[in-house]
Structure formats: C-alpha cells, structure tokens
C-alpha cells in the first residue's frame, strides 16, 4: 500500500505560476518591477521624442511677444522632463482633453490620477508626509489645502505670484490665489427628467423645492461627497436658514451618493430631478435637461503647483498652459461645458450664469456632517 505520487497538483500549480509570470510580463508594458518604478518616479523619464515644433511657434494665439525667451526656456526644460503628473478631481473627460492637447502642443506626456476631491487631496497629503513625491499639480475642491499651507516641512505649494507666469497678472481676481488658480467654474443646476417634469412646472428658485408637490420626487447630492457640493448647502442655509434643509428632508427627499449617479438615475426615471447637478454629468442622457435657477453657485476646483514637484518645469508649463485659450478649451469645452473665468469665446464653454454667487467651500468643508444631520442622514 502506499499513496501513489500525484503529479497533477504540482503540475497545475506550476502551470498557474507560469501563467502568472507570463501575464505579469504581458501586463508590464507600463507596470514594471518595483525598483524600476521607483527609479522612474524619482529621476523622471527621458523624452522619447524630440518635440518637433519650436516652443515659441507652438503657442498659437498667444500674446507672447515679450515673454518668448523665458517661455522658450521653460518649454525646453519642461520637454526635457518629458512628463507631468496631474492629481485632479476634474472629470475624466477633462483629463483626457488636457492630455491630448498638451501632448500635441509640447510633446509632453500628462499622467492623470483622477479621484474625488477629498480622496485625491488625502493621497497627495499622505505622500507628502511620507516624503514620496509623485504629483506635480494638484486640482481639488478641498481648497483648504492651498489656503492653510503651513505644514511642518514648509508650504506644500508654490507661490504663483513669484513664478512669472505671463497670464497670471491678467487672470480674474475671483479665481486667483497666492498658491492656487481657479481654472474653471462649474455652475450648479437643477437637472430634471423631461418626461416627468414639464416646462411650466419647473421651479424658479431653490427655495421652491420644499413645496409639497415635490414630495418623493427629488434627489439631492450628498453634502459629504465633496466640499464643493457642501458649499451649496452652506449657501442655502445662509439664504433660507437651516429649516430649509429640514423641510427638504421632511418632503421625502432621497440623498444620492453624488451628482453623477444621481443624474443617471434621473435619466432612468427613478427621480424627477437631482440637485445640485451640472451639465458635465448629464451629457449623453437624452431624457435629462438642465434648468437654471434665478440664482446659483458653482463648484470651484482650484489647482496648485507642488513645492516638491518631481517635474517642476513641466508642472509650471502646465499651470501656464491652462490659462491659455487652448488650455481653457480643453478644460471647459466639449464635452464638459463649463465656464472659463477668463475667456468669453471658448467654443463649447458656457457663460457665467446671471445670478452667480461665489461659493465658500472652506467653511462648508468643515460642516458636511452638520448638513447631513439636518437632512436626516445620520
């Protein structure tokens, strides 16, 4: 008697491990051994191709008469770095547009890490604390990270005023801060299902939403999803008082995780409308339209250049380029449709709504749980 040797299990294990190795090598075009990756992050990549157009000629429509020389140097240095890492809360389409247009203009690869504001900011902060420097530019609605820039290791973001960015001086004050820029404004709208709400039924103002006729038909974006969304609720409290939130909740309101899934469900007819919403998230949804209230606010995502950016020149160039018409078109044009703070004639961008009020995500970001409690969420 004896248990006969079984080759099969060992064979299968070997097969599995072999396939793992094969797959690992297949999938490792971009993802390589950890040591190699660490190196790549630290030293930056060499540009794979020389960018064909000369830097100065590549900037079409630029009032670059005097700034040719410093810009040319910056562009050359940026191209030498070859890549720039953007941590952003902007929608994916914006990242895609930016990557395409920037690469076309300068031949520099834009790598995008896209997460919700708080997540992307936390990621950035954790990496800074661990002294792992990956991001060059951070764009987030958690603007406290730019305002309260007093970390132990010094400011996390570069003072832009001292950077000689040509367009910085002309940029509107609303969207310009010492360590961050507002490159885009996303107005808040009331997104509704056109089959379920007729034109004459549409509300005129946010305060109308507590009307009993809306009972059980509305969805609201969770104030805890981003500081930008919370700013809406802060504004409503300023305008209507806390009672407004409680009346909303009493009106059988459903709170959805965030704007985007809310819009998708409105399209499906789960709700008649969702707010605050924005045009970007209703693109492609045939049954959903946007309605402008008599006054509104917006999401303000600001971007800053990291003090410890691994690709400082490419980062600077990106910060500058986003102020140009090309950059603004990438960020605010189709399919995103947002407001450019600077230019009125960007194709596909939308004008600033008439009753626009500046948001205060700084305050709102601290009170998210309060709004949630008023909405009956806790």
């Amino acid at each position: 008697m004896g248990i006969r040797k079984r080759k099969t299990p060992a064979t299968w294990i070997a097969v599995l491990l072999a396939s793992a190795l094969v797959l690992a090598s297949c999938g490792s075009d971009d993802t390589t051994e950890p040591e190699e990756e660490a190196e790549a992050t630290e030293t930056g990549e060499e540009p794979e191709e020389e960018a064909a157009p000369d830097g100065a000629e590549g900037e079409e429509g630029e009032d670059a008469a005097e700034s040719d020389d410093p810009m040319a140097d910056l562009i050359a240095a940026a191209q030498e770095e070859g890549t720039v890492m953007l941590y952003t809360a902007w929608v994916a389409a914006a990242g895609d547009n930016i990557r395409e247009a920037f690469a076309e203009q300068y031949g520099i690869d834009v790598q995008v890490l896209r997460l919700a504001s708080s997540a992307v900011t936390s990621r950035f902060a954790e990496e800074e604390e661990s002294q792992v420097y990956v991001a060059d530019v951070l764009a987030t609605s958690n603007i406290d990270v730019f305002r309260q820039d007093e970390s132990e290791n010094g400011p996390l973001f570069v003072d832009l005023a001292e950077e000689d960015l040509p367009l910085y001086g002309e940029w509107p004050d609303c969207c310009k801060n010492p360590r961050s820029m507002g490159y885009t404004i996303t107005p808040m709208t009331f997104a509704y299902n056109t089959d379920l709400i007729s034109e004459d039924e549409l509300p005129q103002s946010w305060s109308d939403l507590t009307d009993p006729k809306w009972a059980g038909r509305l969805a609201a974006s969770d104030p805890r999803s981003t500081a930008g969304t919370a700013a809406f609720y802060e504004m409503m409290i300023q305008e209507e008082g806390e009672q407004w939130l409680q009346d909303l909740a009493a009106n059988d309101l459903t709170v959805v995780d965030s704007v985007a899934p809310g819009a998708q469900q409105v399209a499906a007819g789960e709700f008649a409308a969702v707010f605050p919403a924005n045009d970007g998230h209703i693109a492609g949804l045939d049954t959903v339209a946007s309605h402008e209230m008599e006054w509104t606010s917006g999401w303000l995502v600001e971007a800053g250049l990291a003090q410890n950016a691994p690709h400082p020149n490419a980062g600077r160039l990106l910060m500058h380029w986003l102020m140009t018409e090309e950059g603004q078109a990438a960020l605010n044009g189709p399919p995103i449709h947002r407001v450019s703070p600077m230019y009125d004639d960007i194709e596909g961008a939308i004008p600033l709504p008439a009753g626009f009020r500046s948001p205060d995500p700084l305050t709102a970001g601290q009170k998210m749980d309060e709004y949630a409690a008023l909405l009956g969420l806790n």
């Binding site: 008697m1 099969t8 690992a24 994916a92 790598q111 954790e126 604390e129 045939d286 409690a373 969420l377």
Partner: protein
C-alpha cells in the same frame, strides 16, 4: 470530500517500501519544515502588526504625550451610534438567515439524496463569481423602485391582469433590500463551513440514533446539530469577520437607503473628507476588532476543545443518506433559485444596462449596442490595463496567500500552545481592521523611505495578501480541520519527516479545500474595492480603482459593461479551478479502488 483509505492487508507493514533508515534531522526533533513555517509566520506577523501599531501610535501619541482625543472625537461623531447599531443589526439578522439557509443547503448536499453535484460545488462559490460591487449594482438595475428591470416586468404582468402598480413593488434601497444582499453574500460561508462539518460527522452516530428508534427530526436535533456545533460557531464567527468589513454593498445601497453603516463611515473618515480623521478611524477600527475578538471567544466556547468533532480517520466513512424522494426536486429547485438570485439575476441586470446608451426602463432592442464594451475594453486604456493588472495580481496574491496561510496553519497545529494561538491570531487580525485602515497603515510605513513602495505593484500585492489572509485562512482551516492528527502520527511513525508528511499526506487531502481557497482569494483580490482605491495609482491601475472611478463619474452603462467583463473573468477562473479540483477528487476516488464512498443506509 470523503477520502477513503484502504485498510492495509494483514501482514503488510504500513511502511513505504522506499523509506530506508530514518534520517536524523540536524535540528534534533525539530524539522526544517516547521522552522520555515515559523519564519513565515513571524514575517507575516511583522507585516500585519507593524504598520497597524505604527498607525495607532501616530493616532494617539502626539508631541505633548498620549492623547485620548481620538476616542473622544470618535464618540462624538455625528450619527456614529446609528452606524454601529445598523451594522450589528445587519450582521445579526443576515447572519442568522444565512446560517439557517446555508446549513439547510449543506445538509441537503451532504446528508440527503438531493445531491446537488455541480450545483453543490458551485454553491459556496456563487457570490464569488461576481464581485460584490457588481452584485450590488446589478441588483440596483433590477430592483430600483421605478426603473428596475424586475419591477418593470412585474408591473407589466400586473397590468395584464388589470392591477395598476405605481412604484415598485421591489425596492432594493430599503432594510429588506440591504439584508437580502448581505444574506446572499453570507450564505456561501455558511454553506462551506457547515458542509465540512456535516462531512466530518461520523454517520455511525446518526445510524445508532435511528436504530434506537429516534425519528429523523429527533436525530437531526439531538445528534447531528450538537455534533456540528463547532462548525456553526465557526460559520457565525467568519460571518462577523466578513460582514463588518464589507464596504461595497453599504456604499451602493446603504447611503441611498438612508442606512448608514460602520464600514462606510470609516472609509468616509479616511477618504471622504480632507483632512482625513485617521485617529477616529483607528478608534472605530479598534471597536471592530473588539467585536471580532468577542465573537472569537464565543466561538471557542462553543467549539470546545479541538479535535472533539469527528475528523477523517484512517477508517472508511460511509454517509448515511436521508431519502427525500420527490421532495428532492423541490430542494434542488430552491438551491437553483438561490443561485439565480445570486448570480444569474444580477448578471442579467448588468448586461441589460450595458447594452443601452443610458439606463432606461423602456428598453427597445433597436437601441442596443456594444458601445459601452468598446469604451471599456478598447478606448479606455486605463480600464484595459486595470483588467490585466488585476488578473496578474490576483493570481500572484492568491498563490502567495494560500501558500503562506497553509504553511502557517500547519505550523500552528504542530507548535501548539501560545505560539499556535498567536499564529492563528495573526491570520485573523487583519479582518478586524477595515481594509482601508490596513491600506493607510501600509502607506504610512511602506510608501515612503526607506522602502519607497508607493504606487508599486508590490505594495498592492502585499496589501491584498494581508487584507485577505483571513479569508484564505477560512478555507485552509476548513481543509485542515478535516485531517485528523492520527494521519500525521501514522506518517511520522512510518518514518517520514514533517515536510514529507505535509507534502505526501496532508497536502493531497487538503488540495480541494486549498483550491477553493485559492479561488476565493483570487476573486476577492480582483473584486477588491477599498484597498485598491487607496493604494493603486495610474501606474498600477486595478479593477477596484477603475470601478470606483466610473461609479463616481457614473456612466452606468460603462459601469455595467466593466462589471460584466470582470464577472466573466472571475467566474471563468473560479469555474476552472472548481473543475480541476472536481476532476482531482474523482481521480483520487477511482484510485482508492472498490471501496465506495457512499453506502446506502
């Protein structure tokens, strides 16, 4: 699995002919094998405990001294009481339901003639065939009160009979909906553990009871149930582990249903706000840990001393079968229904939405297209990379995880005493900490200098192995539980060293359990959401990372398409492993010769 060993013929020594003179190990009576096992255990312990300890340290120790502020703040968090309460309620209700149903299924499969065959083998793996997040999203598409596919059909059918239904009748965004999904998720645990328990139950006990005149029900109540009590305890305990950390179901269903839960709260503290409240998250995680610790103690009380439950000995085991007759088909039908709810229905929901330009209840086939799949698989480069990466990391992580856990548990069995408990604790502890907490601790310790693993595949895989070690441990422990110590002893007497015993005696017997464990781990890793979101990067995108991205950007057809593709992936792997282990089992049964494994009672 009832492996049967032939009794040795009289007169033949039970020693392998090639044994030869017994070699003296250079370590005296300790073997190299146990040494390696101990080393692995120590390494894993360091991997688990160091980051977590450092993180707790950071949370409570400030330059001014020890601060208990995080405790204070955690208690004062708005709504934390209801989050904790809801989590416990869901655990208890869903756990009870799942244990009952799982036990019933296990009993059907092991103790009656309603042998489910392939169904019975798929059953424990059912919710693993599609990631939890895909299952939740699929059920949203099916049972959302207005636009859910099932609701639309039910309303249409009702209209034919003149009944007008305004909304629903199903609503997944409710307490019943939430408990339903949790129960579906728990049942395979219960089934797996209870099936093993039943398999190990010596039928001689039940036969004796029947022969003494007890009815089937009395036999079940007085003989079978008490004998599988340890398994019941284990099943409940594992559900506590699994249930507390579940994030995907509460985040998709719970928020919109207005049912806050603890796991979501912890993730929100770390990811959903800036600056993250790490101290408070750590406190809540410690709370989770104490709940699990309590459950562990209760389980040990229930289980009693190890070895008391019957195990596979060297004797032939037959199974006594309960004859169901016609009811067999009812039973099989019920199991089939469960599998439909868990796998088929959500997949239908996902595929249905993936073919539409946007989610809409009135689906006409003319607007169906594979556009979403094209975007997800071809246009969106990151999704494609994420799929490749997840598969790779899944294979590596599952193999490493199962190997390490097996080594550790086998060593634990040998070592006994405190060391044994420590090893088992090392395997279990990660479950008491939310995946998120582990991920954060990994960032704190491994991402920066001197290791600088941030954004690397290695960090991700390490995190997966640590996070899912408890889940791997469940399967390995089940497999190991079946093997009685007398087989080890027999092997030792025959002259085999510990390594040889492991390779030739224990491993082949455990193989099916290990195969299941491997499949579990693979699916968990591929379907992982929270650790991936924290540790993956654009350099190393993985499925969970991308799913979260699409959910927040929420183009539902893309989400549906990606979920469907991932489901295809995970189910292919799981079913392949299942097929292999079934074939293995059939071969091993054939090799045992004429001794049947099932004897008619």
């Amino acid at each position: 699995m009832s492996t049967v060993l032939q009794r040795p013929e009289a007169g033949r020594a039970p020693v392998e002919p090639n044994a030869g003179p017994r070699r003296r190990s250079p370590f005296g009576h300790r073997s190299v094998f146990t040494g390696v096992g101990a080393l692995v255990a120590i390494t894993m312990a360091l991997l688990v405990f160091t980051p977590v300890t450092l993180m707790i340290y950071r949370a409570f120790v400030t330059p001014e001294g020890i601060s208990l502020a995080p405790f204070q703040n955690a208690l004062e968090l708005r709504g934390i009481g209801s989050s904790i309460r809801n989590s416990i309620v869901v655990l208890i209700v869903a756990g009870t339901l799942a244990t009952t149903i799982g036990t019933a299924f296990a009993w059907l499969n092991e103790r009656t003639d309603a042998r489910l065959g392939l169904l019975g083998d798929v059953l424990p793996l059912a919710p693993l065939l599609l990631p939890k997040v895909a299952m939740s999203i699929g059920w949203v598409f099916l049972a959302a009160p207005q636009a859910g596919f099932l609701n639309v059909i039910i309303r249409k059918i009702a209209a034919v009979f003149g009944i007008v239904i305004e909304t629903g009748p199903l609503d997944i965004f409710t307490w019943p909906g939430l408990i339903f999904l949790f129960t579906m998720d728990f049942i395979p645990f219960a089934f797996l553990v209870m099936a093993t328990g039943f398999r190990n139950l010596d039928p001689a006990l039940e036969e004796a009871s029947r022969v003494s005149g007890a009815s089937r029900w009395t036999t079940f109540r007085k003989v079978s149930l008490p004998a599988i009590r340890p398994a019941l305890g284990a099943s409940a305990f594992f559900m506590v582990i699994a249930g507390l950390s579940v994030f995907s179901i509460p985040t998709i269903i719970g928020t919109q249903a207005g049912i806050p839960m603890l796991s979501v709260r912890i993730v929100r503290l770390l990811r959903g706000q800036y600056p993250p409240q790490i101290g408070e998250a750590v406190v809540l995680s410690l709370l989770m840990l104490s709940i699990i610790g309590l459950a562990w103690c209760i389980q040990h009380l229930i289980a009693g001393k190890r070895g008391r439950s019957s195990t596979i000995g060297g004797k032939a085991i037959g199974t006594s079968q309960f004859q169901l007759g016609r009811w067999r088909w009812v039973a099989i039908g019920i199991v089939g229904l469960f599998l439909s709810f868990t796998i088929v229905f959500p997949i239908i929901g996902l595929v249905w939405v993936s073919l539409q330009p946007f989610w809409h209840p009135d689906f006409n086939l003319s607007s169906a297209s594979f556009e979403a799949y094209d975007v997800v698989l071809r246009q969106n480069r990151m999704t494609l990379d994420a799929l490749k990466n997840s598969v790779t990391y899944g294979i590596i992580g599952a193999t490493v995880g199962v190997s390490i856990t097996t080594l550790m548990l086998v060593t634990a069995r040998r070592v006994r005493g405190t060391s044994s408990k420590l090893i088992e604790g090392t395997i279990r502890i990660p479950s008491g900490l939310s995946n998120i907490v582990i991920a954060v601790s990994f960032i704190a310790v491994f991402a920066g200098p001197p290791l600088r693993l941030s954004g690397t595949a290695l960090l991700l895989i390490l995190a997966y192995v640590v996070v899912y070690m408890p889940h791997g441990g469940i399967s390995v422990e089940s497999a190991l539980r079946q093997i009685g110590t007398d087989l080890e002893e027999a092997s030792a007497i025959a002259g085999a060293g510990k390594g040889r015993t492991f390779a030739k005696v224990q491993l082949p017997l455990m193989l099916m359990g290990l195969g299941a464990g491997w499949a579990f781990l693979f699916v968990y890793i591929v379907g992982d959401l929270t650790a991936s979101a924290m540790l993956a990067s654009s350099q190393t995108p993985v499925i969970g990372f991308v799913v979260l991205d699409i959910w927040e950007n929420a183009i539902f057809p893309h989400l549906a398409a990606l979920s469907a593709v991932v489901t295809l992936l995970t189910s292919t792997v799981v079913l392949t492993v299942l097929h292999l282990t079934r074939r293995q089992r059939r071969r091993s049964l054939k090799r045992q010769g004429g001794v049947a494994t099932t004897t008619p009672s």
